[in-house]
Amino acid sequence: MTVSIPVALQSALTDAELRSLRIVVGAMIPASEEYGVPGADDDRIFADIASSVGRDEAAIRAALAELDGLAGGSLVDASQEVRDGAIARVREKHPPLVPPLVALTTRCYYRDDRVMRAVGMEVRPPFPKGFAVDQGDWSLLDPVRARGPIWRKVT
């Protein structure tokens, strides 16, 4: 049941918290051979997650503490069944604890090069290239024009 963490992680969290967090993010977004993507517990992605706790430090700590409690003291030391149960119970009974975990995980997962390519994105920021958007055909408004003014006149 050993859960490793990448060495020399820059994080506000303790090693014990990071091990628990790695279990949670892996349960949230696991690797998929079918879609050719790593899980959120992948070394590179998890290193990003660990170093991106930032403003969510207190909320993440609170969620991990609750998970440890539900797992009988340590999510890391618990069996897979107990881990799954603890995660399910947090999601069901303590919904406010969940969004910070989801936000932290998705923010880092969906900027990984491999993941971006897999979902059809170019691996780049929006600026400076921007994107193309169809101009469309404004004659689609003809029925709206034909209806005439709808604003309320004021005397």
């Binding site: 403003r55 998705t106 900027r111 600026f127 994107f131 169809d134 404004w138 408004l141 024009r145 709808i150």
Partner: protein, 532 residues
């Protein structure tokens, strides 16, 4: 003591920039104090791979989450709608979507027309030239001929319809309901030194391209060229007064926290519907023990937001996704009062494109459409790039129990008491939100959505802060007069959303900037007897 100025403006956002530019031609000594700083276009999130993450960090809409040096905390625990703002040169326009509708003629006459709230002491016709001037200064993209408005000029061509606009427009035609190209503060052509939009799609975290009309790149460069001074990282603590009850200047903290007294002949507040009442309530004296300009007791009362409903649909084929401005088209089918709907007044739909992958995943997971575990990847691909929807922006009527007061405990980094917001959603607003979610679901079903998710009121959408220092002709029922001057302090003016009498069902920036230009014109025309 610092050199006195003729005009001291507090706040460099939407209205402060407009009033500074307009007054510049008088050649008076004009100084603006802004608690935030200039934001460089290279600092905006869309420059980097962490563009979505920073929307939850240093470019978050909540000052309580962002906690940048320029921010002050706001206790909004007692409100279902949380405050969104930005502090810096440009103010809220740095992070706004650029949706730029005007209020309607009927919005200024709600008492006369619908028997609710109060009429404004100005009307649409009076403000119309200021709306038009402001549209030119900001460079508004639009399409002339919108049947929901009196005729108005289109300064720039509209934003692209895209796949989203085309699909939703066709659905609106099927239903026989109004829709139109949205008026947008986004340049669709190179305009006055601003580059045209390249569809970065992340307007609400600042525009790296400079296509979005935030006032740091529209009004401010023009005002600075005319020798208006702008002093940043200067947080005003209080407005001072003399024995005659006239404002004498302000006390502010500079970037190092050092306190200064800045004397001024005239003070103009442009701090938004939270910051302005906060500053007035913090400016107590023997003559004004309840706060400055507060003989009516209405400073901080009648706080209005725009309660928002979100209606989002998921489609079988890809749409625009995160590409292009979020906004593009709107509908005002349900804007004007129709009591058969079960509520008075109305709302605008802002049709919206999709989101980036992070937002798509977060929203999908929050809505139960994207699971944890093995099914995550398949479900994500069903929502990412395949969503479109709308926000309904509902008119909020003024109620005195919705307030901005001073928090007895919370203070900012300079020890200045922080604002506390107390707000209850009215039954009228609740019904309007329910109506908007039901009709919005019809629209998305007509557009072919296979799944629709609704939510209201949106909790983190307290963008529009209005009514807390309302204008009026009766000093016992208003804080400023019909041209923005305080009833109590003859050399104190307010030009931000605080002076709104009602909220309309549209984003307020176009109207509050038109009002700021109108107040500035009144000041210019009355200079010889301005303080009488």
């Amino acid at each position: 003591m610092l050199e006195p100025v003729d005009v001291l403006i507090i706040g460099a956002g939407a209205s402060g920039a407009a009033v500074a530019w307009s007054l510049a031609e008088t050649r008076m000594r004009i100084l603006c104090l802004e608690q935030g700083d200039w934001i460089k276009s290279t600092d905006y999130p869309s420059n980097g791979r962490d563009w979505e993450e920073r929307q939850f960090g240093d470019f978050a809409t909540s000052p309580n989450r962002r906690r940048n040096a320029a921010d002050y905390p706001i206790n909004d625990d007692d409100s279902p709608i949380k405050i969104a703002n930005f502090n810096g040169v440009g103010g809220g326009t740095i992070l706004y979507a650029g949706h730029f509708p005007r209020m309607h003629p009927s919005d200024f006459r709600v008492k006369s027309l619908d028997g609710v709230a109060d009429d404004w002491p100005v009307d649409y016709q009076t403000l119309e030239p200021y709306f038009a001037l402001n549209d030119r200064m900001m460079g508004i993209a639009s399409l002339a001929g919108d049947p929901a408005y009196p005729p108005k000029e289109a300064v720039l061509p509209p934003l692209p319809l895209g796949k989203t606009g085309t699909r939703l427009g066709a659905a609106m035609n099927k239903l026989g309901w109004h829709w139109w190209a949205a008026d947008s503060a986004i340049s669709t052509q190179d305009y006055e030194g601003r580059a045209k939009c390249i569809n970065l799609g992340h307007c609400i975290a600042g525009c790296a391209q400079g296509a979005k009309a935030s006032t740091d790149i529209t009004y401010w460069p023009e005002a600075l060229r005319q020798r208006v001074q702008l002093r940043t990282r200067a947080r005003v603590r209080e407005i001072t007064v003399n024995d005659e009850g006239m404002a004498t200047g302000v006390i502010y903290h500079d970037a190092d926290g050092v306190e200064h007294f800045q004397p001024a002949e005239m003070v103009i507040l442009a701090c938004n519907g939270i910051g302005t009442p906060r500053l007035l309530l913090n400016s107590t004296s023997a003559r004004f023990p309840r706060g400055l300009a507060n003989s009516s007791g209405l400073v901080g009362k009648n706080l209005m937001f725009h309660p928002y409903a979100s209606i989002r649909g998921y489609f079988d084929e890809p749409l625009d996704g995160y590409r292009g401005p979020h906004i593009g088209t709107w509908s005002q089918e349900f804007y004007e009062t129709d009591l058969t709907r079960g509520f008075v007044r109305g709302y605008t739909y802002q049709f919206a494109r999709g989101q980036g992958p992070v937002a798509a995943a977060m929203l999908g997971m929050a809505a139960g459409r994207v699971p944890w575990g093995k099914g995550h990847h398949h479900a994500f691909r069903q929502v990412f790039d395949r969503s479109a929807g709308m926000l309904a922006i509902c008119e909020d009527l003024p109620e005195e129990h919705n307030t901005v007061t001073l928090d007895p405990v919370l203070k900012d980094a300079h020890g200045i008491p922080a604002p506390k917001v107390t707000y209850r959603l009215s039954e009228n607003s609740r019904r309007m939100l329910d109506h908007a979610m039901a009709r919005g679901t019809e629209i998305l079903r007509a557009a072919g959505a296979r799944d629709v998710v609704t939510d209201a009121p949106l909790p983190n959408a307290g963008w529009h802060l209005m009514g807390t220092a309302r204008m009026g002709t009766d000093p016992s029922r208003s804080v400023v007069n019909e041209w923005g001057r305080s009833h109590d302090v003859k050399n104190l003016f307010i030009v931000d959303g605080s002076i709104f009498v009602t909220s309309g069902g549209v984003n307020p920036t176009a109207t509050l900037q038109a009002l700021a230009l109108y107040v500035a014109d009144n000041i210019k025309q009355r200079l010889s007897n301005l303080f009488d």
